[in-house]
Symmetry: C2
Subunit: 467 residues, 2 copies
């Protein structure tokens, strides 16, 4: 229980001191502004040895002069000053510190020595530290953020992020926000001199608001502990993992980035798999998986139905689905009958179901989704751009072309469902509007099929490891 | 030579008869309109047994009534009428036919029998046939098109497409056009009862306007001939291949789509590799490869330099590059010195070169590109959306942030170069404008790295197989 509260303070501090508050633009300058804007101004105290103020916010000359209670320190002073600042905070009883400053273990010998010095201070005062070389955390439930760069609007969601790298964290925030995938908590760990991915996995495991965890890892701080932690967390919440450092050269790159030793990749592959984590092979795949896991239920079986306007796309999706462990059985006699009743003679009613230019997309989709022998459905739309524009110009709506997608989907809410748009971006954007925020709309049929297979694999992980 | 002229007629006909011209919307209705719009109205004759006219264009009751010379027939009549129409055309001496109608070998037993009947007529009159079940060809050099659905603007480029599936062909046209990748010729083959991918590879091999060939294949008509043809063509022009039917289920899907037997996939993998073709693993990869091959020179070596604003993206790109056969050597002493002269102390000058928020992106990019130990360069930009908007709102331009990319690139025009934007789409769109049409701008660092490696592999294919 004490351990738990130890981490909670980072997300729900009583009072915060920002040591190294800048009076002019540069790294960390935006922190007081973003905290004030997000409702944390009253609990925030700024320290700068020169005193003065920033936009009406007073600057105290040292942490000891701060007039209110503080339990969290954010440190953005230059690296050589960090040990001294930590001593001061430790003496004041501030045990939780986020060191955002870079120039430690990731920056060569001098930095490694400096980080060792910080570690001595940490031990002496029994501090808990996130960082150094990070941008700390975002709690999108209560608004708290030590990250000065957030998307312009930032609604609360169910997906939480753990990233070693601060920039990576911010890339994900931007990309996910643009896809209407909203964030619950986001943590960047930097050099992990104390708090690591396992501490944060455990925290998010307990966190009632988090339903899905995305983890970007350059190397495990402790491989065995990571395996145990992932196995424990994965029983309850899916953990999507993107790991760099598959090659010696990639590992060398991470060493000078967050001071990580990535370890041999083949060990990770087996370990992540055994622990029930879901590994993505690329950033795009990580994001596609997140969109699917954040919105779709787990399937009851591995039988995928595909409805498409293009036989080629149906074949490409089928290949990827089968390679990833799904089946694509033929539709039931009843489904075939339902579709044939409305279909032109040339239409081959099977799975994948290629409706071509028949206009039977919505009927086929609805029939496939309701087929009791099908556990999940993927629709692939492929209308040419010039045709789409000409149809819209005649006042025909996207809903008339594709059907009322949310209504079709709601007939079988327990079956995973997604739409893949292989067409001009204008059609993709249009489909995102039609589909609403609970149906993933993706661009790659191969990745969509892999994502459906990952849902099934995760379902098995949960079944094999009952709580 | 006779064989060559045999194919040329499809792309440069003297006179065309469209048999089955429709008087109301439906499949094929747009063909007379698109041909007239593209300057082919004078050479086009429309046949419909009911006579009359379409928008001022007369309808002849049969092909024998047509007043001008014809050497190409486009057939869109219902499937059962196709054998009779072909006999008529054969008797009139029209030897080149594109059958767009579906409902043949792809559509079950009745269709298979009908296609056999067509084959008899073909043999009797020594016809050359594209199709059935296709949308024929587009020649973007002289404007000729039997495809009624083209992107709204359609400038001529150096990339030609061969696709079995008509819908797939149109998807590619739309997607490539949206990425400023312009088309030279596009061919859809359908059921390939006569003309197949090898005939078209040979035609595009000879075609002086085509520099790059994209091939979507469901199954080879003749595996050995395909290998020999690909080997011959690949010596001179890169051939990018996407093949479906990797699994039994995927093969079954193609059988009912273009009547193909896809064959066992493992044989294709070895065959395509030996023949020097470049295989893409997904539609997205095919398109990324096309953008790189259409615009970039071949590298002199396999040494990739990476300049990035994110250490994580640098590590992910490095992993993919090394797995695909590239090296990422350290920069020369001179390059290191050049970059360090302007860089803040924390910057680790190595490869991948992470410039972080230093503002040194353009200096680092220029230095890396000019390093004699580096054969190709990939830049990865990662600016947060809110920062980007705030910078633009201050009147600072993208060029000031990223540098004059075309000017930097022109310092070393012989080295492959690309930009990867891992950020909000607004930044991607902005970068496409800044970079101009000769520098590929892509979204996935992993796929970008694979694409650079494919350039190097193709360079070796050319070196190993001197002309």
């Amino acid at each position: 229980m004490e351990m738990e509260n130890d981490i909670n303070t980072f997300f729900e501090p009583e009072g915060i001191v920002l040591v190294g508050a800048r009076r002019s633009p540069g790294f960390g300058y935006g922190i007081p502004f973003i905290l004030r804007q997000r409702g944390w101004g009253q609990r925030l105290f700024l320290v700068n040895p020169n005193g003065g103020e920033i936009d009406g916010m007073p600057l105290y000359k040292s942490a000891s002069e701060v007039p209110g209670p503080i339990d969290l320190g954010i440190v953005v002073v230059p690296a050589p000053s960090v040990p001294k600042v930590l001593s001061e905070l430790g003496q004041l009883g501030v045990r939780h510190i986020i060191i955002e400053t870079a120039g430690f273990a990731e920056a060569g010998e001098k930095g490694i020595a400096l980080q060792a010095e910080v570690e001595k201070v940490r031990k002496k005062h029994d501090l808990r530290i996130i960082g150094p070389n990070c941008i700390g955390i975002v709690n999108n439930v209560n608004g708290f953020s030590t990250n000065e760069i957030l998307p312009e609007a930032f609604p609360q969601g169910v997906t939480s992020i753990i990233a070693q790298s601060g920039v990576f964290g911010n890339i994900l925030l931007d990309k996910l926000y643009a896809l209407n995938l909203f964030i619950c908590k986001a943590i960047t760990l930097g050099n992990r001199m104390d708090i690591d991915e396992c501490d944060m996995l455990d925290y998010l495991h307990r966190d009632p608001e988090t339903r899905l965890i995305m983890l970007y890892l350059e190397g495990a701080a402790d491989g065995r502990r990571l395996r145990e932690t992932l196995a424990r967390v994965s029983k309850d919440k899916p953990v999507l993992v993107l790991k760099s450092g598959r090659t010696d050269q990639g590992r060398a790159a991470t060493a000078s980035h967050t001071g990580s030793l990535s370890g041999v990749d083949s060990l990770y592959t087996g370990m992540l798999d055994q622990a029930g984590a879901i590994r993505a092979e690329s950033l795009d795949e990580l994001i596609t998986l997140a969109r699917i896991f954040a919105t779709q239920p787990l399937p009851q079986g591995n039988r995928l139905g595909i409805v498409t306007g293009s036989g080629s796309m149906g074949a490409l999706a089928t290949d990827s689905a089968v390679v990833a462990g799904l089946e694509t059985p033929q539709p039931s006699a009843e489904t075939i009958e339902k579709v044939k009743a409305e279909a032109p003679e040339w239409m081959n009613v099977k799975n994948p179901l290629d409706v071509g230019p028949s206009g039977q997309f919505k009927i086929a989709l609805s029939a496939m989704l309701q087929d009791p022998g099908i556990d999940m459905v993927m629709a692939i739309t492929t209308i040419p751009h010039s045709v789409f524009r000409s149809i819209l110009s005649k006042g025909i709506t996207g809903e008339q072309i594709f059907g009322n997608i949310p209504a079709i989907r709601s007939q079988e809410p327990e079956k995973p469902f997604l739409i893949c748009v292989v067409a001009h971006d204008e059609i993709y954007d249009h489909m995102i509007e039609i589909a609403g925020s609970h149906i993933p709309v993706v661009k790659s049929p191969e990745m969509a099929a892999k994502g459906m297979a990952a849902l099934w694999r995760y379902r098995n992980i949960q079944t094999d490891n009952p709580k």
